[in-house]
Amino acid sequence: MDLHLLLENRLAAAAIILFGIGLTTLLLNRNLIKKIIGFSFMDSAIFLFLTSEGYIGGRTAPIQLPDGSMPASAFVDPIPAGLVLTGIVVSVSVTALMLSLTVRLYQRYHTLDLDEIAQLVRKEGEK
């Protein structure tokens, strides 16, 4: 592995490591709230990756002067900004949905542990 190439793309590399941390949290924890936290980690990693892809050194945010005098080469890429906006909205919605499902599960089974919930569901099914 050429570490030099990774250092040049350090933000993308950091985003991927963050994604891996989120994925490991999702896999290792049995607590539903911690799983949701891991999921949010993965969301943030993707936002970091997209914004780092859109950045071009020495350029400014894509806000034109009213007379349109700034050239297109003065701005960073606007498309990742729009994608991140979409992603943030969807991640907020999905997190709210996951949390409300967790609230309902806790109300019914009085635990947040996924294995215990699975056991209780199995017991219910046997009856």
Binding site: P62, P66, F75, I79, R104
Partner: protein
């Protein structure tokens, strides 16, 4: 019996009471004996199972860490082939964004080229986003709403009875609430001129409403924001968005002449439909944020 018990609790209570059909003096001892037997049975079962269970759990943990590391390494390998961070990309891959940047001001009329992109070129995408927010708010409403015949949950009963009126929080909220609302409105109304827009401004306004509710409680906010208000605001904003965007597509989007003028760039009333669409999106985001908070706090507005 506790209020707010579930079907499962009922089942457990019923199963515990099963071995004592007659209210004889023996019943309590019988019940205790039965419980003890169950506990012993469970202990035997668990000690038998725990070892295999623990081993499989260890294997699962090691495997999941390995899988995560493998995915990280594969993706890092891919990162090395990406174009270098902060350098100009290949112009052939940048045709779309170059067009957004160079022709956006003439075609959309907004000086904020990102607002131009998300509310003019890709307005249907933003309509879909608003619908995602609305759909998730509806799903949370369905999941957490207190049904009419269900008993009040213990936590919310405590909340409504002993709502703490914190004077420091109330004083702070009294000062901050109008400022936050004004700031959110500023972000929404300047979304086409500078950084901002419906999503960020709506989030600021929603947090202002949440702060007010935290300080003054549900009784104070219920008169001006009920579930009916939420439905009316979000539905009319979504309908307005869909209709106005369909209208603009019928009268000529994508470079065809439209009679909604783009106005003078840089003034508030410019950029055609972008300002009204920003306001609609801001209203949707604001009411959805507030609705999320209310539903998670009490299960109602």
């Amino acid at each position: 019996m506790r209020i707010g018990h579930t079907d499962l609790d009922q089942d457990l209570i019923a199963s515990l009471q099963e071995p004592s059909p007659a209210p004889s003096p023996l019943s309590e001892a019988h019940l205790l004996e039965h419980a003890k037997a169950i506990r012993e049975e469970e202990a035997a079962f668990s000690s038998q199972e725990t070892k295999a269970h623990q081993v499989s759990l260890h294997i699962y943990r090691i495997l999941s860490v390995c899988a995560a590391l493998l995915i990280i390494l594969l993706m890092l390998w891919g990162v090395m082939d990406l174009p270098v961070f902060g350098k100009e990309k290949d112009p052939l891959t940048q045709v779309v964004s170059a067009r957004y940047l160079s022709a956006g001001l003439q075609e959309g009329g907004a000086t904020n080229l990102v607002a131009n992109m998300i509310l003019d070129y890709r307005a249907f995408d933003t309509l879909g986003e608003s619908n995602v927010l609305f759909a998730s708010a509806c799903a949370v409403l369905l999941l957490l709403r207190k049904s009419q015949n269900q008993a009040i949950r213990p936590s919310s009963a405590v909340d409504s009875d002993s709502f703490v009126r914190d004077p420091i929080l109330q004083f702070g909220a009294r000062i901050l609430f109008p400022l936050l609302l004004l700031y959110g409105l500023y972000i929404v109304f300047n979304g086409h001129l500078g950084p901002g827009g419906g999503f960020s401004g709506g989030a600021v306004m929603g947090s202002a409403l949440i702060l007010y509710r935290c300080a003054y409680g549900a009784e104070e906010t219920a008169p001006f924001f009920s579930s009916r208000t939420f439905q009316a605001v979000t539905c009319s904003a979504l309908c307005f968005y869909a209709l106005s965007k369909a209208y603009s597509f019928f009268t000529g989007a994508n470079g065809l002449p439209s009679f909604i003028s783009t106005g003078t760039p840089g003034s508030i009333l410019s950029a055609g439909l972008i300002l009204p669409l920003n306001i609609a999106v801001g209203l949707i985001v604001c009411s959805t944020m507030y609705a999320f908070f209310c539903l998670f706090e009490k299960g109602e507005f």
